[in-house]
């Protein structure tokens, strides 16, 4: 890659401790994201992809429960060594997150508008007219009646609308990197397409980088530039999406692609992972 990376992760190691036992959740994870790039991290539950994303801004439990080593460089600063007050500016400021279940990520007792406004007030104190900024954020994610939605509570919205509201909140502070952890897994295919199209447009318009975590190669093939496959806490394969999809060098990558049923290609049985490739029982 020619462009200077925006985020550079080096030798990231994540270990969870419980009593005398230690579980290594991610090991020797090294990758970088260029400005405006979509990097997909693919793997199953337990492969270490979500903990890696959380570790970037130290969202994992503090030691001794969990120890993180290595470095996460953003604009010449190592986020793993940054004091808490400075890190708070990065969380939601430079790096914003959206999660799988918008219903549980939103606070049920506050309106959508209040929650977006809270993020703006925290990260962009220079903004005077927060109310119109909330409207703008909601319009950007193509919510047609921003005034009404701003006054609604999360439970009054559908799953797709909740995820849009989450994205609006994440983008309200103009992040450089959006970490999307399985953003459409809980949604229908039609809504999934709408959300992915929305993310693709926002990335184009803003030149924002996206770290997309998913287990669905269908989404990766249509949406990402680079992909890395994680298996048992390690990156086993990485490269441009078209290349990985063509070569499928690692047996785990091959197996993950093979087990997806595809439209119009009916088979008698679906391919499953062999015992040695399985991540969870």
């Amino acid at each position: 890659m020619s462009a200077e990376p925006l985020l550079k992760v080096q030798d990231l190691c994540i270990t969870f401790h419980a009593g005398d036992s230690a579980t290594v959740a991610a090991q020797d994870v090294t990758f970088s994201i260029a400005a405006g790039e979509v990097l997909a991290v693919v793997g199953e539950s337990g492969s270490g992809k979500s903990v890696t994303a959380l570790a970037l801004t130290r969202l994992l439990p503090p030691p001794p429960t969990c120890t993180v080593t290595g470095s996460v460089m953003l604009g010449g600063v190592d986020l793993l060594k940054l004091p808490d007050d400075k890190l708070a500016k990065v969380r939601g400021g430079s790096i914003a997150y959206i999660f799988q279940e918008p219903g549980t990520s939103l606070n049920p007792v506050y309106t959508i508008g209040f929650q977006i406004g809270e993020a703006i007030a925290l990260h962009r104190p220079e903004v005077k007219d927060i109310k119109s900024e909330i409207q703008r954020a909601l319009q950007e994610v193509r919510i047609t009646e921003p005034e009404r939605v701003a006054n609604q509570y999360p439970h009054e919205l559908s799953g797709g609308m909740q995820q849009r509201a989450m994205i609006a909140m994440a983008l309200a502070c103009n992040p450089k990197i959006l970490v999307a952890d399985e953003p459409t897994t809980a949604l229908d295919v039609t809504i999934q397409k709408e959300i992915m199209d929305l993310l693709a447009r926002l990335r184009r318009e803003r030149g924002m980088s996206i770290l997309l975590i998913t287990h669905n190669f269908g989404i990766v093939a249509n949406f990402a530039d680079q992909v890395q496959v994680m298996w048992k806490g390690r990156i086993v394969e990485h490269g441009p999406v078209s290349e990985i999809m063509r070569t499928q060098a690692h047996p785990y990558t091959r197996a993950l692609i093979a087990c997806i049923p595809r439209l119009g290609q009916r088979r008698r049985r679906l391919t499953t992972l062999t015992e040695e490739l399985k991540v969870s029982p």
């Binding site: 989404i219 249509n222 049923p261 499953t272």
Partner: protein
């Protein structure tokens, strides 16, 4: 009455929920979750039911097992109208029709061990069964879903999503049902686990001669498992046919939208 090959026949099924009354206690507009749908499920086959959230597909499945109230219509199970039965009268049919749910995390009692989760339906439907026979049957059920017998004393939180879904399937199989309503059984699972559970369901169908109503929003999965597909939108069935017909030559705009939304690669 109904054709001998059809295990289940649904005629003009409707489920309406009363609308919320306004301040002046005037009745609200009823919500038509399912409105006048008819279809048949042939014995030993899989009928796929696709549609978005809110299209009424889950309500349809729940109405068949009396978990949603019928507003109109009839449901014939091998010629008997089970839609009009009282809950007590329906009990023998509950044994024949079982359900598998989407979320393996919320559909198993977290305080119960696997033995009691699998024993409960046996206690209800086979009250004469001795304790040791029940335990033996539970071991056999775990074997059916490819889980080792020593898991009987464990609790749901000790299992992965895929294993929990297997336990849900074992619970449905406990009473030797003929028809299983699978409500999004693989939507919450990883793709590799999804493939395992789909294969397991198909193996069990072959071994036990089961009939499935397979509810899902993923058209590729539905195409893979189904002999016949129903497409639902806004409470009605907009199109139905064989997988080849629905996917190869969709007639309705809604079906085309649904097909276009599936990521291809």
């Amino acid at each position: 009455m109904s054709h001998a090959d059809n295990l289940l026949e649904v005629r003009g099924l409707a489920v309406h929920y009363p609308g919320r009354a306004n301040w002046f206690f005037q009745k609200g507009v009823p919500k038509k979750a399912v409105d006048d749908i008819s279809f048949v499920i042939p014995k030993g086959k899989t009928v796929g039911l696709v549609g978005e959230s809110g299209s009424g597909k889950t309500t349809t499945g729940r109405a068949i097992v009396k978990l949603a109230p019928l507003t109109a219509g009839q449901i014939f199970y091998q010629g008997t109208d089970i839609g009009s039965l009282s809950n007590a009268e329906f009990l023998p049919w509950r044994k024949k029709i079982q359900m598998i749910f989407q979320d393996p995390y919320n559909s198993l009692n977290p305080r119960a061990d696997i033995l009691s989760i699998l024993s409960e339906p046996l206690e209800i439907h086979f009250p004469q069964m001795s304790r040791s026979d029940r335990a033996e049957r539970c071991v056999e059920l775990l074997r059916c879903v490819q889980l080792p017998a020593e898991h009987l004393r464990r609790h749901p939180h000790e299992f992965s999503g895929g294993q929990r879904q297997r336990i849900g399937i074992a619970r449905a199989l406990a009473v030797q049902p003929e028809l299983i309503i699978c409500d999004e059984p693989v939507s919450a699972l990883d793709v590799s686990v999804q493939a395992e559970v789909v294969n397991l369901l198909q193996d069990l169908q072959e071994q036990l001669g089961l009939t499935y109503l397979f509810i899902a929003h993923d058209l590729a999965v539905v195409e893979h498992v189904s002999d016949h597909i129903l497409v639902m939108s806004k409470g009605g069935i907009v199109e139905q046919g064989s997988p080849a017909e629905i996917l190869g030559n969709p007639q309705e705009a809604y079906t085309k939208t649904l097909l276009a939304a599936v990521p291809r690669f």
